[in-house]
Amino acid sequence: MVVIMKERASEPQIQAVIAQLMDMGYDVHRSTGANRIVLGAVGGGHGDPQIVEVQDGVQEVHRISVPYKLASRTFRPENTVIAIDDVRIGGDEVIVMAGPCSAESEEQVEASAAAVKRAGAKVLRGGAFKPRSSPYSFQGLGEPGLRMLRAAADRHGLKLITEVMEISQIELVAKYAHVLQVGARNMQNYSLLRELGKARAPVMIKRGISATIEEWLMSAEYVLAGGNTQVMLCERGIRTFETYTRNTFDISAIPVVQQLSHLPVIADPSHGTGRRDKVAPMARAAVAAGADGLIIEVHCDPDHAKSDGAQSMFPAQFERLMAELRIIAPAIGRSLCVEPVARRGWNR
């Protein structure tokens, strides 16, 4: 870390900081500038920079190393690729996950799965356990919902991603899902993350609604530290002063995280905007920004959806979007749905 002393810091104050840094195990480089002293703490020390920051005479402290280790690019320079059979997340292909917010009925799940498969999605999304802002809102179908989702995914050759809300659900959800999703509200549920570190299924961690990128990467660190290396991150919008959209979709987080971390980054323009008409532009932007995948809410009948209807796309809108994304992805050296879908043979 680098410690910048105040302009009028006294010699005893400076000496106290040097002594403290040495106690922490650092070697100290003292540099006397024209007006102030800068102390560089180098070597294998460790300690809380905030303890240094509150010392008398200290102006500011800059941390140089990052607190997340396993999630950082320094630890693993090459991209992590998560392979679920033939679906490779984090490779050249942009993987699209789509489906309804919640599983509501056999018919609704089947119609939605068929629609997203037809458009070229590789993974079916859908919730059976729903963390809703209100306890009076639809809470999900539970295990019957999981069964419906997995059956529909299997029928259409899709993988399944679904949310696990608490530790007690991990085993059950892992029985049905290929990818376990940690929702934004649970991003800092460290006991859940620690348990997911023991799971052997891929985990997708959504960014908390007010989480900094560093906090988000620290959540990934919890899962990685537990021994589960199959972690992907999902940008889903953050809370800002803007109220027009449900959240502010932080597209810049995509290249930032890809620089800091080797983990795949998925973008969720549905929650990112909360408005159906804004999903396509943000999805296009996310692919252009380099997202490794998208997760999009598509409902066979959004106007009657039991949750998130306003942000769910109609199947026809989704198909149009996928056609656009197939043009955008190659522009940055990526591909999207290379497998020819019956009606899109022109893709090859």
């Binding site: 002594a19 040495m22 070697d27």
Partner: protein, 92 residues
């Protein structure tokens, strides 16, 4: 450009002397480090560091000014402090 060659050769020669002198100085620091570890004295002794810097400034005749000399010796002292810390043989 030929005029530079002589000066550059002289700089190389002086650097060789500096390296030898810095290492000779470092050996003293290591010896001091061993004594400090044996007696339990603190490695970091700010009063002595201030003395060293004051002495350096006192004997300085330029063209480097005292502030420049102080900055250079701060780095030398940083490294000496590190050697003293390592002189207990633990590698830490």
């Amino acid at each position: 450009m030929d005029g530079l060659i002589g000066f550059r050769q002289r700089i190389d020669e002086i650097d060789e002397q500096l390296v030898a002198l810095l290492n000779a100085r470092a050996e003293q620091a290591q010896a001091i480090g061993r004594i400090k570890h044996a007696s339990g004295e603190a490695v970091y002794q700010p009063a002595r560091e201030a003395e060293v810097l004051a002495h350096v400034r006192q004997v300085n005749q330029g063209p480097l000014d005292d502030a420049a000399m102080t900055r250079l010796f701060e780095r030398i002292i940083d490294e000496a402090r590190r050697l003293e810390r390592l002189a207990d043989g633990s590698g830490r």
